[in-house]
């Protein structure tokens, strides 16, 4: 489903002279359809960089990211056009960042509704019903549905973020520390949601800090150690 070969990302910063910052180096892994891969490793080792390369927020410096797309067949994400990537983001590949990027004056429920409407073209009413059920499952109090998430606690924001990521059941879901700001009970709810998604066929790549949790949920673990340079 997804195969990463010799992926490296180096940032070339050209302000006030030039600097090189290594994001990640020589990353290799393979995930089959419906598998759950966890990425473990100390901070600053480039775990997020890998996910951002797959989502093409970063342009890989070298290496290949092969993905078997439903829409386009097998392709190399490192090489595809921006338009193809936009289509994959709307129809196949989801990404849940570490922190919710709040869009000014968009309510929590509308943030969650957006991706499913983009994918399925269902009506606002239908999308809202699905979103409400999901937020209810995540134990977000009903009075917050139509509020702006900028005022939410870190945990509530992260739940909205996860709801946004899982509502449209993407084929591939990339998660950057999905449970970092959650308490034990919320973590359990989120893991249950991810497991349901996995059972329905979603391939998951997730970054975790909690080794125990990772070994509990994943089929494969990728360990990244300090980089050599």
């Amino acid at each position: 489903m997804l195969e990463v070969i010799n992926l490296s990302k180096i940032f070339y910063i050209k302000i006030n002279g030039s600097k090189e910052v290594v994001g990640c180096q020589d990353i290799n892994f393979k995930v089959n359809k419906g598998e759950f891969l966890s990425i473990l490793g100390p901070s600053g080792v480039g775990k997020s960089t890998i996910l951002k390369c797959i989502y093409r927020t970063y342009i890989p410096t070298s290496g290949d990211i092969y993905y078997e797309s439903l829409l386009f067949g097998k392709l190399n994400i490192a090489k595809i056009s921006d338009r193809t990537m936009i289509a994959l983001r709307e129809k196949e590949i989801g990404y849940v960042s570490q922190f919710l990027r709040v869009i000014p004056r968009v309510t929590a429920i509308d943030l969650v509704i957006e991706p499913i409407m983009k994918k399925n073209g269902i009506s606002y009413k239908e999308a809202r019903d699905i979103a409400e059920e999901l937020l209810f499952k995540l134990k977000i109090p009903k009075y917050l549905f139509d509020a702006y998430p900028s005022t939410f606690s870190g945990g509530e924001q992260q739940k909205v973020n996860i709801a946004r990521g899982v509502i449209w059941k993407p084929r591939v879901l990339l998660l950057d520390e999905p449970t970092a700001s959650l308490d034990i009970e919320s973590t359990k709810i989120v893991i249950d949601l991810l497991m349901t998604l996995k059972e329905e066929g979603t391939t998951i790549v997730a970054i975790f800090h909690d080794e125990k949790l990772a070994s509990l949920v994943s089929d494969k673990i990728l360990r990244i150690s300090g980089r050599s340079i």
């Binding site: 940032f11 093409r56 927020t57 970063y58 338009r83 990537m85 936009i86 129809k91 000014p104």
Partner: protein, 285 residues
Amino acid sequence: MELFPILEVRNLTKIYGKPCGECISHTGPIYETNICSRCNSLVACADINFELYPGEILGIVGESGSGKSTVIKLLAFDVEPLQGEYYIKHEKIINILGNGQKNLFNLTPFEKRQIRNQVIGIVYQYPYLGLKMNISAGGNIAENLLVAGLRNLKRIREKVLELFEKTELPIQRIDEPPIKFSGGMQQRVQIAKALSNNPPVLFLDEVTTGLDVSVKARILDLIKNLHHDYNFSIIIVSHDLSIIRVLTHRTIVMKLGRVVEAGLTDQILEDPQHPYTQLLVNSQL
């Protein structure tokens, strides 16, 4: 999945002054100037290529003098290019020009006016460029409908009222001239006018520059909601990266008349490749 662009621009070049033939090869970011050292012509933009896809919002960023507004003026037929090709694929174009792909820059003035009226909506930074400031707001919008061939006065009035409602303008002020309106309201009148004939393509040139933050926010909300409801394709020119971040799918970065970088908006903002884009992104407060 829309894989074919609605709008295509090829090799677009605009030079102010008499070009000497060496202007393009002696200007641009590498030479750190857009003025030709041989003939003093100003190369406003050169070799611009891009596509806009159905339903897409494309951003053009760059500092003052980068040529971003020139591109919009060229596409709106406000000025004529030195060279370039410009295509729009839409049923409305077929209605006006018949079948077959035609370079829109080569059309007659009459055909260009029709396209401006039916196919392209434009909102300028300065309301006086898009509106007649001393004619009633309703009249400004009605003018576009009249040009489109609408003759039934009752129908025109209905349509103007509908556009007022859509752009959240107070209907009781329909007969007042835009000169009496606040900056934010003037932009709403411009947007209403731009939308009057349901154009598939909309150009927004620094539409919120100079407005208060709260007014700016409401104009952006309006644009977002209208885009959601009508799904037209938009080119938005701005030097404000926060607007680009919130609204656009892809972004083009211009400097001294050239495109220095183009990509997915989040990639441009988080992994900028060109030194100029890196500086631009890092200049954000």
